[in-house]
Symmetry: C2
């Protein structure tokens, strides 16, 4: 899999007046190299229409498009993959639907779930929540950046920390071992989405460079 | 396609205390020969679990299983097909996902939409609403049984009237030309689902026989 550094997760409510394609265009301009299209309120028809538009925007710029929860929509818009929570289809069912070449990402709130996802054919796991977030009602307290260290060397697939990651804390996240991250509110609710993405990505890349020296 | 006479559409809220598999088992016992599994509130994981159970129940009795809205769930549980409303994926997108052998049914509120669905590869169209119904908020007044006559001889695929059909009016529906019907509240909200299904199916079959003589 062509792995991403910064995945921006869409959110219709956080986007306010702006449409999801507008937000995505700005996030790509700011340096997002993957978009996770998430909209739990849209009808299937709306997901298809908007997904096709996001496919155009991402394909133009060589950015990955991953559809949340819905293998059917992912296939219908020819997205690069699907991301599934623990309430969605399990990895093995999604893999069967998506075929061997598409990305299957799974949310895992602990190492046991991450190992299970890996075994069932996931390409990456989303781990968290790392920090408090306004995007989702958390069912457990946030794990903090130490949680990321627990995954180092335990998986054969990449892990992607998420939950409350922002320009203010991304250095800690990278120092704890993250090579990819996913964000939503830090970017989607910002007044200037492109600028917020640029700042976050810049700090992330800087922290990764610092680690090499 | 192996066409059905009586399709029972599930509804979690109308089912009250009873689980969807319980309702389906009773509907099959009463003579339903197709089940449309519809649950707009369930998570994908719940749809998969319940869909697999309904697949067992229907397969045992040779009853068709059609999943509402979700080609991915239909494929994952190996249902016989998918049923799509006008807010869901269009027929051509569903056909591409489902392959040539699975049933694709489309809701059509007029003859133009029905012809479009037929052209895009639908196997049948659901037409209505015929009568007032408590299951769904109608966006247009009910069409009455005359609406069914308008479809006779206009399509090459079967049409399935639905919306408020019950034991009290099914004879009018058959006399207007219906050879298949779909029902929800008449059966699912009945205290005795099997008995309500049996009565409805009995009156339907009797009305069809009366037409032959």
């Amino acid at each position: 899999m062509d792995m991403f550094k910064l995945c921006v997760i869409t959110d219709r409510r956080l986007a306010g007046d702006r449409s999801t394609p507008e937000v995505v265009e700005e996030a790509i301009r700011g340096g997002a190299d993957a978009i996770q299209f998430r909209d739990k309120e849209a009808t299937s028809g709306e997901l298809l229409q908007e997904g096709l538009r996001l496919r155009e925007l991402t394909a133009e710029k060589g950015v990955l498009l991953i559809v949340n929860d819905r293998p059917d929509i992912a296939l219908a818009v020819d997205a690069d993959g699907v991301h599934l929570g623990q309430e969605d289809l399990p990895a093995f069912a999604a893999r069967r639907l998506m075929g061997p070449r598409k990305i299957v990402g799974i949310s895992a709130s602990d190492i046991a779930l991450a190992l299970k996802a890996q075994e069932e054919g996931a390409d990456y796991v989303g781990i968290g929540a790392i920090y408090h977030t306004t995007t989702k009602q958390l069912t457990a307290p946030p794990r903090g950046p130490e949680f990321i260290r627990a995954f180092s060397g335990r998986l054969n697939i990449p892990f992607v920390p998420l939950g409350g990651i922002s320009a203010q804390n991304v250095e800690d996240v990278v120092r704890a071992g993250a090579r990819s991250i996913a964000v939503c509110s830090a970017v989607v609710s910002a007044p200037d989405v492109a600028e917020a993405t640029r700042e976050l990505k810049g700090r992330m890349m800087k922290a990764m460079e610092d680690q090499l020296t």
